[in-house]
């Protein structure tokens, strides 16, 4: 009896003395987990879970364990808003979100009003970083402005194209990228000309009409902006080859994701594009944080991580470093430690953030040499 009593007493005392930081830090992810973008959203979520797991193995953050709550926004803004409200009620400390820009734009003000730190991993709209309804915004993926620079530079200086055409996805993302590239052409005093612009809808899967027009214009390069990596883009690549178009296929930054290689295989050979992360190209092959991540991700999920996974991983790493530096989870404090600052040792290497929250990208321009195996060769 006395043993029991002392046991109970001990338990009582222990519970009083034990730190209340048995309370975990909660990281929420809101990405599409169903529907057409489901596999992509799953990739990013998996990367987040992996990095959080690595952090927990090293003792967590601020001495506390991190748990991940992942939710599905179904690529629908109205649903994303509901999920954001749920995150608020579950008192998460961070939300990593954003595959589709409209969903991000809908969720941001809600998270901002609730004072929850919000990092946009993938969505590319410029509006995400502008406007007063989303102060302290942070975005990992590159923006159209910077992307346009690297593509324009390749066309003007490397390819030295005389005639250029655009095959552009008809929405703010595609049109914005084209406008940015044309502006860069002016800045670089491009001596060639833009002979033709063909447009298509995101959901389109048949492009013969546009490709026929482009073929007859016979430019040196066709700049393609198509973010439908699961259906439209692979189909476009195959039809491009079927139409026997000789112009160089120059893809906008970041469109050549895993599914494009898997589906279009060798039709991708010869495509030139650029991106901000590669599991098997320098400089990433010599960045320890990057190779560690690639190895761990491959081990856990059986495939090498692509840029989307890297974005998810970096989101966690950037936030974790800011939290450790400021010893705080407060939105304003953490955001201030990221915006305009340098963060070391992410999967992208040492990165610099602009004052508006945009992570500065470092690009590698590549050519596809073996599409079936996604083998790329860096240019210059």
């Amino acid at each position: 009896m006395s043993k029991k009593l002392s046991l109970t007493t001990f338990a009582l005392l222990a519970s009083l003395v034990a730190p209340a930081a048995a309370q975990d830090i909660k990281v929420g992810t809101i990405f599409p987990l169903s529907g057409g973008a489901g596999p992509d959203g799953q990739t990013v979520t998996n990367a987040v879970k992996l990095v959080v797991g690595q952090l927990n193995e090293k003792g967590g953050l601020l001495g506390r364990k991190i748990t991940v709550i992942s939710k599905d926004d179904e690529s629908t803004p109205a649903v994303g808003v509901s999920r954001a409200n749920e995150m608020i009620s579950e008192k998460v400390d961070l939300v990593i979100e954003g595959w589709n820009s409209p969903v991000t734009l809908a969720m941001q003000p809600i998270l901002a009003r609730a004072g929850i730190m919000d990092i946009t991993a993938v969505s590319k709209s410029d509006l995400i970083l502008s406007g007063e309804t989303n102060p302290n915004a942070v975005r990992i993926n590159s923006s159209n402005g910077f992307d346009a620079g690297v593509i324009a530079k390749y066309i003007v200086e490397k390819l030295k194209a005389k005639k250029v055409a655009f095959l552009t996805q008809n929405d703010v993302y595609g049109n914005g990228f084209q406008t940015a590239v044309e502006a860069e052409f002016k800045k670089l005093n491009f001596s060639g000309e833009v002979t033709m612009t063909e447009k298509f809808a995101f959901k389109d899967t048949d492009f013969r009409v546009q490709l026929t027009n482009l073929k007859s214009a016979n430019p040196d390069a066709i700049i393609v902006t198509n973010s439908s990596n699961s259906s439209g883009l692979p189909a476009m690549v195959e039809q491009y080859r079927q139409a026997d178009i000789k112009s160089t296929f120059v893809g906008a930054v970041g469109i050549m994701l895993t599914t494009v290689f898997k589906v279009a295989g060798d039709a991708n050979n010869g495509i030139v594009s650029a991106d901000i992360f590669f599991p098997d190209l320098p400089p990433f092959t010599s960045i320890p944080a990057s190779t560690d991540f690639v190895a761990a991700y491959t081990k856990a999920y059986g495939v090498a991580p692509d840029k989307s996974a890297a974005l998810g991983a970096a989101a966690v790493q950037v936030w974790a470093k800011a939290v450790e530096a400021t010893k705080s989870l407060d939105r304003k404090t953490v955001a201030a430690a990221i915006r305009g600052q340098a963060i070391k040792d992410t999967v992208f290497g040492d990165v610099q953030f602009l004052p508006n929250g945009q992570m500065q990208p470092r690009y590698v321009v590549f050519k596809v040499v073996d599409g079936k195996n996604a083998k790329l060769e860096a240019i210059e």
């Binding site: 169903s34 629908t76 803004p77 009620s89 809908a106």
Partner: protein, 328 residues
């Protein structure tokens, strides 16, 4: 409950009036009764706004007997009016609401006039096509937002002369949503007893009788359709302020299927039917969500099963089991 009420509205008994007042008071304080947290406020505000959205479709479906597949058009007009006019021109809530109502009436008049002589299912097809065309326009017209929509919708400002209401958070907007819901319910209640409402029912139940009495079914359909548009439009208007962001996603079938399911679920021509319906659906999606795919299956199944097995909705089912005289 007979389907066609007597022509002179029965005076509400004092007891009934008291009950309604109590319900209103309880309803207003519902978020606080449910804990007062942000989720309570946001969920209930969303339910209120979506319920008003559904009542627009309810008006056409329950009283006219036709399906409007284009009410997302009015929902979007309301949202876009609120967004563009407040962000670009700084207009206050009254102005944007008035614009939303006017635009919805204009659009409904146009659609109604052009379908004046067509049959019901052509009317549905036309409304569907109109929503598709409007979506394409909204998606491509950068001046009103384009594919990314309009961000940064400011707080809802409603000047009252002696004071100005400014609402940004869910807690602030709840009273507005609640009042909008009450106004809609009151409107529908009046409509049911009005000449137009009873005539519409007669046209639905017995078109031959209606024509023999000199009623033009086409004009009735036009009038009811035009009346229903600003209801959904005002819901979209408030949704714009609540979400702070408006885009072409307002046209998505997600809202259409919600509207239809909420209206048929509980039963037609029951005043608070759509409200209960939408509350159940939103509660399932937010609190008992089984994932995007299962939610679709649930929503679609409810819609199909209710219409196939219990066309009179849950209330009809209850009546059949409760052996109460059912309405025909």
């Amino acid at each position: 409950m007979t389907v066609i009420d007597t022509s002179s509205p029965a005076p509400m008994s004092a007891l009934r009036a008291a009950a309604v007042v109590v319900l209103i008071i309880v309803g207003f304080f519902m978020p606080r009764l449910l804990g007062g947290g942000s989720v309570a406020y946001s969920t209930l505000t969303t339910i209120a706004i979506f319920a008003v959205m559904c009542y627009g479709v309810d008006l056409v479906l329950s009283y006219l007997g036709e399906v409007s597949l284009g009410h997302t058009l009015f929902w979007a007009i309301g949202g876009y009016a609120a967004a563009n006019l407040s962000v670009k021109y700084g207009l206050n809530g009254w102005s944007t609401a008035l614009a939303a109502i006017a635009l919805c009436i204009a659009a409904a008049l146009f659609l109604g006039m052009v379908t004046l002589r067509t049959r019901e299912f052509v009317f549905s097809l036309v409304t569907y096509a109109a929503a598709v065309v409007a979506y394409e326009i909204a998606f491509n017209w950068d001046a009103i937002g384009g594919s990314d929509g309009v961000v940064g919708i400011p707080a809802l400002i409603l000047p009252f002369g002696f004071a100005t209401f400014s609402g940004l958070s869910q807690e602030d907007l709840w009273p507005v949503a609640f009042v909008l819901l009450l106004l809609t319910l009151g409107f529908i209640a009046r409509f049911r007893r009005s000449k137009l409402g009873t005539t519409a029912l007669m046209v639905q139940m017995n078109p031959a009788l209606a024509t023999s009495l000199g009623v033009d079914p086409r004009k009735i359909r036009l009038a009811v359709f035009v009346l229903s548009a600003p209801i959904t439009g005002l819901a979209g208007w408030l949704y714009g302020y609540q979400r702070g962001y408006v885009g072409p996603d307002m046209f998505e079938s997600y809202f259409l299927v919600l509207m239809l399911t909420a209206v048929v679920l509980v039963g037609r021509r029951i005043l608070i039917g759509p409200l209960i319906g939408i509350a159940l659906l939103i509660a399932q999606q937010n609190l008992l969500s089984l994932g995007g795919d299962w939610n679709k299956i649930i929503l679609g199944s409810i819609l199909a099963i209710v219409l196939i097995l219990w066309p009179t909705g849950l209330v009809g089912l209850y009546r059949r089991f409760g052996k109460i005289n059912s309405s025909k």
